[in-house]
């Protein structure tokens, strides 16, 4: 999967999971601000990502991640 394809899938998932307009989300956005989520929601997102991409993502790998693009790079290492 290309990086672009992965980011697109990630943004689709985030929009669905947190009921946000898909067109309002883009790769370099701060995902906490864009999705208006807190750390509890971030845990929900982590579970959804693991299920969608069939990977396991340790929390400490996403701890410093701010943008969708950076999150996609973490997932890319494991798909």
């Amino acid at each position: 999967m290309t990086r672009e394809a992965l980011i697109t899938r990630l943004l689709d998932l985030a929009a669905t999971q947190f009921a946000r307009p898909r067109e309002a989300l883009f790769a370099e956005q701060d995902l906490f601000d864009a999705l208006e989520i807190d750390s509890v929601d971030a845990m929900t997102l982590l579970t959804a990502l693991e299920s969608e991409f069939h990977v396991e993502i340790p929390d400490y790998e996403v701890q410093d991640v701010r943008t969708f693009a950076a999150l996609a790079d973490v997932i890319a290492k494991r798909v």
């Binding site: 750390s39 845990m43 982590l46 579970t47 693991e50 400490y60 996403v62 991640v65 701010r66």
Partner: protein, 283 residues
């Protein structure tokens, strides 16, 4: 149906021969002195296997709190009590004694749950962290919904689990995954937890209590005495290791690392600060 307990922490009722315990303390069923007192009220039933002459043949523990089964120990309460003890000028030995007294009470409840003379099932969802995971591990069968995440974040506080978590996790799982969970503090999703054998059944979001209720009904169909023998054979209580864990926790508790970490936790404005922190400026 008989109401046994209904307070700010939990409800307990007997439905037929099944003891139904529902934790409902917001935000995430933290286990502090109040929750402990409510759980202690159940210990006579857990030890005798009877409620006013009615035999208990199954038990189900679940949470009605949205965030999950339980986030574990009430760290804010722990911090405030520890801070008050420091301000009173109590020595490390005195503070260790106080935490050991609390842990002795917690262990008495956990051991009673673990050794209950009837099969027990836990229905879990969302956050199952620290003491919440330790509580879950005392049950015979665990039904998890897909939102559940399991973690022992204690090392982030300079501690190890103190409610019996390490021996009971080792009883269930191989050492590789136990060390991974403990030494990284990371959380495990429900699906992986199911595949490594931490939970027995994986169900759709929101379905764990209903599936666990059916499981409890199945428990009731079998001879109680046989179930008791089978349970104690398959799931012996690791008493020596539990005592060692308690000792290590007490040894670590008075360190400055723990005092500072608890203070940081107490100051945090996050709803659940034991989760991986949102990125932000360093202190």
């Amino acid at each position: 149906m008989r109401e046994l307990l209904d307070d700010a922490q939990l409800t307990a009722r007997l439905e037929g021969h099944t003891l139904l315990v529902t934790l409902h303390r917001e935000p995430a069923n933290e286990i502090g002195s109040s929750m402990l007192a409510s759980l202690e009220a159940l210990v006579p039933i857990l030890r005798s296997g009877y409620v006013d002459g009615t035999q208990v043949r199954a038990m189900l523990t679940a949470s009605s709190v949205r965030r999950g089964f339980s986030a574990g120990a009430d760290l804010r309460e722990l911090h405030r009590e520890n801070q008050a003890a420091i301000e009173r000028g109590e020595s490390d030995a005195e503070r260790t004694r106080a935490v050991r007294t609390f842990l002795d009470r917690v262990h008495a409840v956990m051991d009673a749950l673990d050794d209950a003379p009837f099969p027990t099932v836990a229905a879990v969802h969302g956050v199952v962290f620290g003491g919440g995971l330790e509580l879950m591990l005392t049950h015979d069968v665990v039904i998890a919904d897909r939102t559940a995440r399991f973690a022992f974040p204690e090392l982030r506080l300079g501690l190890i689990p103190g409610f019996g978590g390490i021996p009971r996790l080792r009883r269930e799982l191989g050492n590789a995954i136990v060390r991974d969970l403990l030494l990284t503090g990371r959380s495990l999703g429900a699906e992986r937890a199911y595949h490594v054998g931490l939970v027995a059944q994986l169900v759709a979001s929101g379905q764990a209590p209903a599936v666990a209720r059916r499981t409890a009904e199945q428990f009731e169909r079998f001879d109680g005495a046989t179930a008791r023998v089978a349970k104690r054979f398959m799931k012996p209580i690791p008493k020596d290791e539990l005592a060692k864990e308690k000792g290590l926790f007490c040894h670590l508790f008075t360190s400055a690392t723990v005092t500072n970490a608890l203070a940081r936790f107490d100051r945090s404005t996050e709803a659940m600060p034991y989760l991986p922190a949102r990125p932000g400026p360093e202190e």
